[in-house]
């Protein structure tokens, strides 16, 4: 990953629209409880980390797998509004296309 060259506009949009996403400590509680994650390769913790580092392409590929069930929101120890986070990501991608 070349952080210097990666596009950080997506990350900036996410931080602005879902500021609680900045509080993630990477514990993986969200991924452990994730309904989609138990059926597919979807990993919500990794997804938002990828966006934060500007690895947008890989993040976009898996975003649609989220079913918005909200279980991740219930377990997050840092109070990240994961639903808002996912919606902000979808919104950004939608705007770009």
């Amino acid at each position: 990953m070349n952080y210097d060259k990666n596009d950080k506009a997506f990350a900036a949009y996410l931080a602005q629209k879902a500021p609680s996403s900045k509080l993630c400590i990477g514990c993986g509680g969200c991924t452990a409880t994730c309904t989609a994650g138990n059926l597919t390769e979807f990993n919500i913790r990794k997804l938002q980390m990828l966006v934060k580092r500007g690895e947008n392409e890989e993040a976009c590929k898996s975003l649609y797998k989220c079913m918005l069930c909200g279980k991740c929101l219930l377990v997050c120890p840092r109070g990240v509004d994961t639903r808002k986070m996912i919606l902000a990501m979808s919104e950004y991608i939608h705007r770009q296309s």
Binding site: M1, Y3, R53, E55
Partner: protein, 345 residues
């Protein structure tokens, strides 16, 4: 009853005052021309951002006590046990002190970042240590070696700690919270800069620390990347190019920094090693002086009448150092009272 204290850092100063308040005669020996030890290198303290100078002044003022004799610019050249439960301390000014007990408060030494050669300290101008950053805060000037305002600053945790390659297995404990504090201070000076911390674990052990970490993320927009720096190089613009793995996404990462801050860890000081050798004190494998018991004998050593406080026994924050000094004063007072009564019988 009199006690000689070796080292007038925060632990030595606090213990001297507490012992003096108990009516014990104290000789406080300091090799530098000023008290405070490593505290003199700090600008503000975590977690309340108190000025280090403020705390230093409080500790220094307490030494104006009739029971305390402060020996500045003086080194304890030779420490030994004499007969009848007495100790003799030969000072560098050729005087000889005799005392009933010894308190070793020789503190710590900062890790020499040049030993971690692959990080480029001493080779690349824009690689500095956390202590040098404190100095920049004191002068309220934060620029790169070429005089520019840094746009991207990286803090590297665990430099000289938790690293078998430089023979330090231990965690220095304070560098994590120091990095958080310094990142916030940098943010206040440079609102537009990108600030990143590279960590292995965030060890927020003290009251208010985790809260400060959280605030650093949310309010101050500090980014935290879990991964240890493997190496650094320099480009033609004197910027630092670093390599690490972002372990939370499982990808190697390359990044250019304008300024890289190495969070240097703590090692046993030369003074501690000297005291341990001369007085036959047990040392832990990392060189710090080993307490007699980790729970109820944390200020006693394997040698009767010789006590320890503060960072001579382990990396410690100032809160714990001062508490440890007070605890040592209590242990010493009890021991002296018991011992001197016994001698008089």
């Amino acid at each position: 009853m009199n006690v000689a204290i070796i080292g007038a850092g925060p632990a030595g100063c606090e213990a001297a005052f507490r012992l003096a308040e108990e009516g014990i005669q104290v000789d406080l020996i300091e090799k530098e021309n000023v008290t405070g030890g490593n505290l003199n290198n700090w600008y503000q303290l975590f977690p309340d951002r108190k000025y280090a100078g403020e705390l230093n002044a409080i500790l220094r003022n307490q030494l104006n006590h009739p029971q305390i004799r402060l020996h500045l610019n003086t080194e304890a050249v030779r420490m030994e046990r004499k007969g009848k439960g007495k100790f003799a301390v030969q000072l560098s000014d050729h005087s000889l002190l005799e005392c009933d007990a010894l308190l070793v408060t020789t503190g710590f030494k900062l890790f020499d970042a040049q030993r971690k050669e692959e990080y480029g300290y001493g080779i690349y101008d824009n690689v500095i240590t956390s202590v040098e950053l404190e100095n920049k805060f004191m002068n309220q000037q934060l620029t790169t070696s070429t005089g520019e305002v840094p746009q991207r600053i990286g803090f590297i945790h665990c430099v000289g700690s938790r690293d078998e390659k430089i023979c330090n297995y231990h965690c220095s404990k304070l560098c994590c919270i120091t990095a958080v504090k310094q990142a916030i201070e940098v943010r206040e000076m440079l609102p537009e800069a990108e600030i990143l911390c590279f960590y292995m674990d965030m060890r927020m052990f003290g009251p208010g620390y985790e809260e400060m970490y959280r605030e650093a993320q949310e309010k101050y927009n500090i980014k935290f990347v879990r991964g240890r720096l493997s190496e650094a190089s320099e480009n033609q613009n004197k910027q630092i190019i670093i390599k690490a793995e972002d372990t939370l996404i499982g990808k190697p990462l390359r990044m250019t920094l304008d300024l890289m801050v190495l969070m240097v860890g703590m090692e046993a000081s030369e003074g501690s090693k000297k005291a341990a050798t001369q007085l036959q004190l047990k040392q832990a494998p990392n060189g710090f002086i080993q307490p007699a018991d980790p729970h109820y004998g944390n200020n006693r050593t394997n040698e009767e009448g010789i006590f320890i406080a503060g960072c001579s026994s382990a990396p410690m924050n100032l809160t714990d150092t001062l508490a440890d000094a007070r605890s040592a004063a209590t242990a010493l007072t009890q021991w002296l009272k018991h011992n001197c009564k016994h001698k008089n019988e």
